[in-house]
């Protein structure tokens, strides 16, 4: 089973600078988590994303493009990055999600990845 783990956090967390000394613990927590999850050999792919302010959202309504600045939803927490992992069950994916720093300050969403022989 492949699951995408989505790391959601508040914008202020996502905008922390890598060289900001007050953020050392924050980055260390992520570094440790990423080291562990990659070492487990379950990561299929993944990316960290630039902060939400750099996002652009597009909708097509009545054949017209509507392009907006920012992420799609006006929520506090926004997508900061994701990993696709291969594990055997939701419980196992939840275990990995529970260790993510985003779970302590924001939230972590787990979604099964759609594969060719398992439609919705």
């Amino acid at each position: 089973m492949q699951y995408m783990i989505l790391f959601n956090q508040e914008a202020k967390e996502l905008e922390r600078g890598r060289d900001d000394p007050s953020s050392a613990d924050y980055w260390e927590a992520w570094r440790a988590y990423m080291t562990d999850i990659y070492a487990a050999g379950i990561v299929k792919s993944g990316n960290a994303l630039q902060p939400p302010f750099s996002a652009t959202t597009l909708r097509i309504r009545d054949g017209k493009r509507q392009v907006h600045d920012g992420p799609f939803a006006d929520t506090k927490e926004m997508l900061g990055g994701y990993l696709v992992i291969e594990v055997s069950s939701l419980d196992e994916a939840l275990e990995w999600a529970a260790r993510s720093p985003s779970s302590f300050t924001g939230s972590t969403e787990i979604r099964p990845v759609m594969t060719m022989n398992a439609g919705p």
């Binding site: 055997s88 069950s89 939701l90 419980d91 099964p112 022989n117 919705p120």
Partner: protein, 412 residues
């Protein structure tokens, strides 16, 4: 499952459905990891039984017959879905277990595993009780919808979605780890508790639509106890439900009106059921693991003590409620504590103080709070009536509404 007609084949099919439906479904769903597909296959197997048994005779091992047919249906469905590679393995699997000596011995009981899947925290909490009732007891959507205050269509949609999530998100059908078991089990027990009290507006009122559901919830609790005889909270829940069931004959009077606990004729209570409830609670207490269901059962036990002692031991009840509120606080427990403390001390004002400490937004839609408030403010009729009207506004159950209207009239 329940069809019309009363041929021996029908009767046998119904018996098997009643006794083994949950076991059969658990067996299939755990191996197939797809609850909805297993359910469909089992329904088709029962339909096939009703067609074949009258002609070819009832098989010696009806459960095995049903299981074999259901397994073939699953394989056929998988073939249709182009899962060819799994097919050979599955055929082998189905042939290997085609001739069991006895269903119960050969297949064991995997209903608890299935119930724990349905009680997974990743499943919408509001649909868990119905999902468990459907999968373990084979209850139909239309039998349950009324009790859950939902249309059949809405309930069905939620159940279908929950089952799709079990499959798509690959919820584990394995036994939970030791660390997970406690929290998963308490979700399961809560779901069974909810199945018993659902649609009863937080009181112990029988709704005609819910009578059957209440009995089924008691049965589920007894299944859990039989599978986990050393779990104190499972024993506590069954004990609690039996104390409530035992009072059923006294809960409605000859006119069909609701009779509150304190006004019930204790002589009408079911003594043998009370004995069982006391015994279960005692077994639970020997295990020395505290929990909310045991405390709630102890409170009900104390209420039922009236049958022996002639009066209600309010001091004990107040103490039990106080520990319930200390360790496992809920609004319902605080309301119960307020009434018990007022009764024990003979001072309604003490109960009112406890009620007033609850944040208003937590009780604005909670009828039992307003009934309790009205009960404790009887000395000032206008105030008592105001609270009772508020309770009435929040109550939809017809029997309970009639009762509150009668009390309102009594206040003048």
């Amino acid at each position: 499952m329940a069809g019309e007609g009363s041929t021996p084949a029908h009767t046998t099919a119904e018996q098997v459905a009643r006794e083994s439906y949950g076991r059969l479904l658990a067996h299939l769903a755990i191996r197939w990891r797809d609850l909805a597909a297993a359910e469909d296959a089992l329904a088709e197997a029962f339909a096939a039984a009703l067609e074949h048994w009258p002609r070819s005779g009832i098989p010696a091992k009806p459960e095995s017959w049903l299981l074999t047919v259901a397994r073939r249906k699953l394989v056929d469905a998988a073939r249709g879905a182009a899962l060819r590679r799994r097919e050979d393995v599955l055929l082998q699997l189905s042939e290997a277990v085609d001739s069991p000596a006895s269903f119960k011995e050969d297949f064991g009981d995997e209903r608890l595993r299935l119930m724990l899947v349905c009680a997974h925290p990743a499943i919408d909490a509001s649909v868990r009780p119905a999902l468990i009732l459907q999968t373990v007891l084979g209850l139909q959507v239309k039998e349950m919808a009324g009790a859950f205050l939902l249309s059949s269509e809405t309930l069905n949609k939620r159940l279908v979605r929950a089952k799709a999530k079990i499959k798509l998100a690959a919820l584990s059908f394995e036994d939970p780890t030791v660390e997970q078991l406690d929290s998963r089990l308490s979700i399961l027990l809560e779901a069974i508790y909810a199945a018993y009290f659902i649609g009863r507006e937080g009181t112990l009122v029988d709704g005609d639509a819910n009578d059957q559901l209440g009995g089924e919830a008691v049965y589920l609790a007894s299944v859990v106890v039989s599978l986990l005889p050393q779990n104190a909270e499972a024993l506590g829940l069954l004990s609690l439900l039996l104390f409530c069931e035992a009072r059923r004959p006294a809960r409605v009077d000859a006119e069909g009106d609701f009779v509150p606990l304190l006004e019930q004729d204790a002589q009408l209570w079911d003594r043998s059921m009370l004995e069982r409830a006391y015994e279960l609670l005692q077994r639970a207490s020997l295990l020395s693991t505290q929990g909310p269901f045991q405390l709630e059962a102890a409170i009900q036990a104390a209420h039922c003590y009236r049958l022996r002692a002639g009066e209600t031991p309010w001091r004990e009840i107040a103490l039990l409620y106080t520990s319930l509120v200390d360790s496992f606080p809920t609004i319902g427990a605080v309301v119960g504590m307020a009434v018990a403390v007022a009764q024990a001390e003979g001072l309604p004002s003490q109960g009112i103080d406890i009620l007033r400490r609850i944040a208003p937004h937590e009780v604005e839609n909670y009828a039992p709070y307003w009934v309790a408030m009205s009960h404790l403010t009887q000395a000032t009729k206008e105030e008592a009536k105001r609270h009772l009207r508020r309770a009435l506004d929040l109550t939809t159950h017809p029997r309970l509404r009639r009762h509150l209207e009668k009390r309102l009239a009594q206040l003048g």
